[in-house]
């Protein structure tokens, strides 16, 4: 039976990782991620987690170390945040191109300058094009569960997965959650068996130079695997729901409005919790809205999004990351997906928070109530 526990988000992540039995962990501390690897290092030290913990001098080395350990056939883990994730950038591309599985947890935090350590999704959104799968979590329970599902998907896809928690909002707050038993996880997640691995007895060349045509073919296969990943993730989530009785979807309908509600609010990560309260307040006061959270950013679940939003006249996108000169990064993703609809809803691109700027339910209520004043073409700053 699962056990209830009250844990910090970072500890919940560590427990999720521990249940997946990684053989190698390598990471470099950075606020607000540090608790995750501290907890893991204590687990390794006490012997409750049998794993090689590699201390490194930078995030670049951390990701490079697991690139090596996974190439050697092990299940591995790393975590980072903000500047640390940015420092990994070069290897993030290489890692994905090497077609190796991994789960990396990123605690979302702003990138300087100016100096700021608070919650902001610019760090992971700016890694959208590295080829990694990206999943954003609303709660610590969701993060713990997602890590278990992510290992399963990653190893079947031979693709790395980044799991996001909001820095401080999740990482540093306590939550009551359920910890699955090791047996439940072992039944769900078999040990990793690498199709190829570094082996002195059977030398192979990993990631050697590929001529243009071969390179193109490998990238095409990559892209096709990403498309297949949408189905695989659905399957993983369904299997997880069956075994653990907690249901996840790539895009989740968090609050249903009236039958004739024509406005949807969409966001991703921990802000969804605030938005749930806001939409309850709105519905109580006669403004009916539907609330959606996007869990999967890469591969982008276009079909699921279209299905969710097809009858809406207005979609209000709450952004925690900005692509300067265009607008909210999440808004762009949603606009692009909706282009395939014969009749496009209005997309209001709202820059609701950056660098930890506090989001209150009232902030969201006001945005929805004043929706007629929002620009449909330009980003809306508060």
């Amino acid at each position: 039976m699962e056990k209830p526990a009250i844990l910090l988000g970072s500890e919940a992540v560590a427990h999720g990782v521990k249940l997946c039995r990684p053989q190698v962990i390598s990471a470099y501390p950075i606020t607000p991620q540090t608790h995750i690897i501290e907890t893991l290092s204590e687990m390794v030290d006490s012997g409750e987690l049998k794993s090689q913990y590699i201390k490194v001098e930078s995030e670049m080395s951390a990701i490079a170390a697991v690139l090596g350990s996974v190439s050697a056939g092990s299940r591995s883990f790393t975590a980072s945040s903000s500047q640390g994730l940015a420092m990994m950038h070069e290897i993030l591309h290489w890692y994905a191109g090497a077609r190796l599985p991994l789960v990396l947890v990123n605690a979302n935090r702003a990138l300087g300058g100016p100096w700021n350590i608070w919650s902001d999704q610019s760090d992971s959104f700016s890694q959208r094009d590295t080829g990694w799968l990206q999943i954003y979590c609303e709660t610590s329970q969701e993060a713990l569960d997602t890590i278990i599902m992510a290992y399963k998907a990653s190893e079947q896809l031979m693709l790395p997965i980044m799991v996001m928690i909001d820095g401080f909002i999740l990482s540093h707050t306590m939550e009551r959650l359920m910890i699955p038993t090791p047996k439940m996880v072992d039944d769900f997640l078999p040990p990793y068996k690498a199709p190829y691995q570094l082996d002195p007895e059977n030398p192979l060349t990993f990631g050697a130079g590929a001529h243009p045509d071969l390179f193109y073919e490998l990238k095409k296969a990559y892209s096709e695997t990403m498309t297949e990943a949408l189905t695989l993730i659905d399957q993983c989530q369904a299997e997880f729901a069956q075994k653990f009785n907690r249901h996840y979807d790539v895009i989740m309908h968090c609050q249903e409005g009236d039958k004739d509600s024509d406005t949807a609010v969409i966001c991703c990560g921990a802000m969804t919790g605030t938005a749930r309260v806001a939409s309850e307040m709105l519905n109580e006061n006669g403004t009916s809205v539907d609330l959606f959270k996007l869990r999967l950013l890469r591969p982008f679940p276009k079909t699921a999004l279209i299905t969710a939003l097809k009858n809406k006249k207005r979609v209000i996108v709450l952004n925690r990351a900005c692509s300067y000169g265009v607008g909210g990064t999440l808004s762009q993703e949603i606009r692009t997906a909706l282009y395939d609809l014969p009749e496009h809803p209005i997309v209001n691109d709202v820059m609701i928070s950056l660098g930890g700027k506090e989001v209150f339910p009232e902030t969201i209520v006001k945005i929805v109530n004043d929706r007629e004043q929002l620009s449909a073409t330009e980003p809306n700053w508060l």
Partner: protein, 539 residues
């Protein structure tokens, strides 16, 4: 159900989208990008530089630490014919120069040398070439004579040694007390040399000036290494039986002759003074050393001074004898505080008058065979050639005389002095080492007889450790400038362009650089713990 063809293929192990190849990357000749190439450049270690014999210490330490004691002995003997002797009596210039001193403590090279020397007592010396026609005569069987004999005989020369005393060894036998160099060790080592190289050793055979011409006719070369066997007695001292030279006294003690008298005053601050004083003390005599400068200025080896002091020897520093009164049966000495007058030392304030049975001069030594000096063509070696010096220097001098002789015979090319000697590069410094690869570890403690146990006998003071114990000590060696095939370069090379062949006998071919793939990044040179790899321009 949607078909997931890639995921299926991954599951079935026939996915072609993984960037993995069973073709080698060797076809890509990345070596053409380089502007610098690494080369193996072994360098002199400071111990080798400091050693008069230029012993390949860093190399034999490697063999020794690996448990290959006989290989280590062979390397040691290449340059040192008497390791059991020098392991005991050499002041170990090598240890004073050891780079490890700046890290924790010097490696106990001397103790390892001694243990190897003892191991060698039962191991015959090896020959380098077949016997030849040339014959050489060596006058004197001290360290210089023995070294000359070994290096000549090793090249096939037939050697005869003429020794005026009843037994070989010269100063090693008659000058160095047995508590520093036990007689049985000396005898065994000399016997091993004589037997290994079939040396014709003729004791009780004094060479007189009249014999020289005949020797020249009979032998193709003559080397004179008679040593400085006579103490110089200051001219101002009275000629009386109660005034003696230190060397003569040491020789008498060595021959177990009875030593008359009870009170002894020894003048001097060198090893001869200390050896004589400590020997007399062991015979139950009352001894004091009078030295005109401070104890710190004494030319004797510092360890000897410390040991002598711990044995309770009375050392009177900054004292001179202003007047000697010969009482017939004994002597009265007027002692004064010494006073510096420029470079000279004079008598200052009167201290006291003491009476002694014997006054011993240990202020210098001279040759007892002055006739040999007159012959400018005579090839000389040892103290006789260069004045009183250490045993190691005498051995080096004997070896040099042997090399001169071999060159004369045409059996050694002119430039064949060992590479290390001709290599003018300075030895590798402490700063050039990569200390991250070494951990601090103090030197072993070498047991010795306590003062009580050794006070009335000539038992060897230093007890030594076993070969196995000393392996741990040898592991402390940095092997400065010497490749140990540790593999750090191999580990760091990002192009897999370094191969290590530990089986190779030739040090040069143990590290192989693949210049077709080396990009010249220089990491190997950067990480080498011992400064052996250098980058050279390669355009």
């Amino acid at each position: 159900m949607i078909k997931l063809k890639h995921i299926e293929a991954i599951r079935n192990g026939d996915f072609t989208g993984l960037p993995i190849s069973n073709t080698s990357t060797a076809v890509n000749m990345t070596g053409s990008w380089k502007f610098f190439r690494p080369t193996l450049k072994p360098k002199k270690s400071p111990c080798l530089e400091a050693c008069p014999l230029h012993i390949l210490i860093a190399d034999y330490m490697q063999e020794f630490a690996a448990g290959n004691h006989l290989n280590a002995l062979e390397i040691l003997r290449e340059n040192n014919p008497l390791p059991a002797v020098t392991g005991r009596v050499c002041p170990h210039f090598c240890q004073s120069a050891c780079n490890r001193t700046d890290f924790d403590e010097a490696v106990l090279i001397g103790d390892i040398e001694r243990a190897l020397g003892d191991l060698g007592l039962t191991q015959p010396y090896s020959m380098e070439s077949q016997e030849c026609q040339e014959k050489a005569a060596i006058i004197g069987s001290g360290p210089a004579g023995l070294a000359a004999a070994v290096f000549l005989a090793r090249s096939g020369v037939k050697v005869t040694i003429f020794e005026q005393s009843e037994a070989p060894g010269g100063l090693l036998r008659y000058g160095i007390p047995a508590y520093r160099l036990p007689r049985r060790i000396l005898e065994k080592e000399i016997k091993n040399i004589v037997e290994s190289y079939s040396i014709d050793l003729r004791c009780n055979h004094k060479i007189k000036s009249t014999d020289l011409d005949n020797l020249r006719k009979e032998y193709d070369a003559v080397i004179a290494a008679p040593g400085l066997t006579q103490s110089s007695i200051p001219e101002t001292w009275p000629e009386t039986p109660t005034v003696k030279g230190a060397l003569e006294l040491l020789a008498a003690i060595s021959r177990d002759e009875p030593i008359p008298g009870q009170d002894f005053v020894i003048i001097g601050g060198g090893n001869a003074a200390l050896d004589t004083a400590r020997s007399l003390k062991r015979l139950g005599k009352t001894v004091q050393i009078i030295y005109r400068r401070t104890i710190d200025e004494m030319p004797a080896y510092p360890d000897e001074i410390i040991e002598a002091q711990s044995e309770g020897l009375l050392l009177r520093e900054e004292t001179v004898i202003e007047e000697i009164i010969d009482n017939g049966r004994d002597l009265s000495l007027n002692l004064h505080r010494s006073r510096k007058n420029g470079d000279r030392i004079e008598a200052g304030d009167f201290i006291e008058t003491i009476t002694t049975d014997f006054l011993i001069a240990a202020t210098g030594q001279e040759s007892s065979g002055d006739f040999l000096n007159c012959n400018p063509e005579l090839l000389k070696a040892g103290d006789f050639a260069h004045g009183a010096a250490s045993v190691a220097e005498a051995l080096a001098s004997g070896r040099k005389a042997a090399e001169t002789t071999l060159r004369k015979f045409g059996r050694l090319p002119d430039d064949s002095i060992t590479d290390q000697e001709t290599q003018n590069l300075p030895p590798i410094t402490f700063a050039a080492l990569h200390l991250n690869y070494y951990s601090k570890k103090p030197a072993l403690k070498i047991p010795q007889l306590d003062e009580q146990t050794r006070s009335d006998n000539f038992s060897e003071i230093h007890l030594g450790l076993s070969l196995e114990q000393l392996e741990i000590e040898a592991e402390r060696c940095f092997h400065c400038g010497s490749c140990t095939t540790c593999g750090i370069c191999w580990f760091f090379c990002p192009d897999v362009a370094i191969a290590i062949n530990r089986e190779s006998d030739n040090a040069e071919s143990q590290i192989l650089f693949d210049y077709d793939h080396c990009k010249g990044c220089g990491q190997c040179a950067e990480v080498c713990p011992r400064g052996v790899i250098e980058m050279e321009e390669d355009l």
